[in-house]
């Protein structure tokens, strides 16, 4: 069958996949464990974008994808979406987060104190080339503080609210089961607050940075001040069928609140939180949230523009789909093009 012989797609795709996997080599539990240990911030980033908190599965996804972040996020999301939702955890309140790091750029000192926590912010970024010469880079031991920082820290916005500096919007009490879930419903605009914050939490880090940075450079209307940046661990409190609340474990979370002077004479706040520790993402996300209100349709900081274009699985998938054959559409355009050319010739005889 001459027609078939020139094709043979099924065999080709199988061998192409084998070629890719062969280059990665066998994936062992040891490799996954080592990845989880060695790359906690990458694991955090993938868990945040996948909306699935499971460092082992995230490390497995990274191993399987050979470190391709978009592939890893897709693997986790496709797994996550098939899992049943057993229960909805209690909301995490800021003042209850076990805080490792919490800083504010708005004040020199804040109630609860500036807690630097683990950071490379003030480190000199020098590549430890001695490792390549056979030496081990051993980090210097930490000297514990004389008085440890309190594990829980108040929210700075609470202080600002008490001092009449920020608006205190009326709070609507929504039963946890009734909170809209963007993974089970389409995202429509104007979006509910829950959908906006959920979309920011699972947005592409690089995408939020690009758009957030454009807002910071002047394409937005509000210049952010970091009101509070916090890295911590949150207890996942769920209710047992017997009625008792218990902690099902802890998840690493990061959150940023940025602020600027609003039109009403009060401070406006922008907020973003995500699974895992990812400071760039939450600062950029909070900046975009701050800029969203009142932004013109189609501007790079308007909510619909931001949220549709920073969806990592959708954006990366569509980008790579252009590799698929498009010869039918192309043929159709070609036909119109030639038709127009012929018509032109007919009109102006040589």
């Amino acid at each position: 069958m001459a027609y078939v012989a020139t094709r043979g797609g099924e065999r080709a795709i199988e061998q192409a996949e084998r070629l890719y996997r062969e280059a990665l080599g066998p994936i062992t539990p040891e490799r996954v464990a080592e990845l989880r240990l060695a790359l906690p911030l990458l694991v955090d980033r993938v868990m945040g974008e996948a909306s699935l908190y499971d460092p082992d599965l995230a490390a497995l996804a990274l191993a399987q994808a050979g470190g391709d972040l978009y592939e890893a996020v897709l693997l986790l999301r496709a797994w996550r979406t098939t899992q049943p939702r057993l229960t909805i955890a209690e909301p995490v309140r800021q003042a209850e987060i076990l805080t490792h790091r919490r800083i504010s750029a708005a004040f020199k000192d804040i109630p609860g104190g500036q807690i630097l926590g683990p950071t490379l912010d003030y480190a000199h970024r020098i590549l430890a080339t001695e490792v390549m010469e056979g030496e081990t880079f051993t980090p210097a031991p930490v000297t514990p503080a004389a008085t440890p920082a309190p594990a829980r820290q108040p929210s700075l916005a609470d202080w600002q609210r008490a001092n009449g500096l920020v608006a205190d919007p009326p709070r609507s009490e929504v039963a946890p089961d009734d909170i809209p879930d963007v993974t089970r419903e389409p995202l429509l605009f104007p979006a509910s607050r829950a959908h906006s914050l959920q979309s920011l939490a699972r947005a592409d880090t690089g995408g939020l940075l690009a758009l957030g940075y454009s807002a910071m450079r002047g394409y937005g209307n509000a210049h952010p001040t970091v009101n509070e940046l916090r890295l911590g661990e949150a207890e996942v409190m769920v209710r047992h069928p017997s009625g008792a609340l218990f902690s099902a474990g802890r998840v690493r979370v990061s959150q940023a609140e940025v602020t600027s002077k609003g039109k009403s004479g009060l401070l406006d706040l922008g907020f973003c939180a995500t699974f895992g520790w990812n400071e760039v993402k939450v600062i950029a996300g909070a900046t975009l949230d701050l800029n969203a209100s009142g932004a013109a349709k189609g501007s790079p900081v308007e909510e619909e523009f931001v949220l549709y274009h920073t969806e990592p699985v959708e954006a990366s998938g569509f980008c790579i789909h252009f590799k698929l054959p498009h010869y039918v559409t192309f043929q159709s355009s070609l036909d119109a093009l030639r038709g127009a050319k012929t018509a032109e010739k007919d009109e102006v005889p040589a």
């Binding site: 069958m1 001459a2 027609y3 078939v4 094709r7 043979g8 797609g9 099924e10 080709a12 795709i13 897709l74 693997l75 999301r77 496709a78 996550r80 979406t81 098939t82 899992q83 049943p84 993974t183 089970r184 419903e185 389409p186 995202l187 429509l188 605009f189 104007p190 349709k297 189609g298 619909e304 549709y308 699985v313 959708e314 990366s316 998938g317 569509f318 980008c319 790579i320 789909h321 698929l324 054959p325 498009h326 010869y327 039918v328 559409t329 043929q331 159709s332 355009s333 070609l334 036909d335 119109a336 093009l337 030639r338 038709g339 127009a340 018509a343 032109e344 009109e347």
Partner: protein, 304 residues
Amino acid sequence: MTLSTLTRPWAAISWGFLDASAKREMRRKMIKAIAVPGCQMPYASREVPMARGWGTGGLQVTLTLLRTDSVVKVIDQGADDSVNAASIRRFLSRVSAAAETWDTLEATLIQSRHRVPEERLREDQVLVLQVPNPEPLRPVQPNMSIARQMHADADYGRLWLVLYEQMVRSGRIMQGAAYPALVNGRHVMTPSPIPRWDVPKLHMARHLTFLSAGREKRLYAVPPFTRVEPLVFSDVPYKVEDHADLVCHRSGLRGVFMNEIPQDGGGSAFEASDSHLGIKAIRRAEGAATTIGPMWYEEGRFRP
């Protein structure tokens, strides 16, 4: 009574991949889509084990429609063994008991990217078209929330304007594939990037067509015997691609949509885009017993 008697044994994935709650949402949205032909229904659009933009919308509809006695055909640009079609078909049979086929006549469920088969579809067949961009208004209004309002108002003036401007600038309508069409006299839809050649096949058809965009989270439908009218001016007839007189250099088929294959030294050869129809024509020429069903086009003319 123990827990295990109340549940089914654990399985890594559900039958047909999607879990029951995802399928329930799909069914509801698909029924709504049938009820309001051509109207885009937003849906959650779960992630599936394929990249967005690679047929995930069509896949979710197909997975929801799958039954144990389904016979599925998957084509990409008309070809059954195109790499992505092969991958989707393999996935479908992997997660269900569905049988695979290349033959349009045997299929009960056809998932397609950018083509409608050349053999007529019957009332017992469902066509699922993969849709990259479900919004016909996108070229004139990239904002989805505003476009949704325009559909509600049947505000399609700017689409007509685009077509008119093409006439003025180029002397003809330049829209290639994805020609916008009015469905049931109410909603303008994009038929997905099928060639203009294929749009009449949806008009008053016997089969049901679903169009689903996974990345954009919208699905819509053309139920059987529903009007699908391409937007045209009353004095400028709708023009399909000029393929009526081309001959397939492999199968000898004529009067079907063709792929153009550039040849060394200039010039082009043509081959039937509906690859399995081509195979059947070759088999028939070789004397094998082969059934070619009734066609939408006869001698290059669409037969209503």
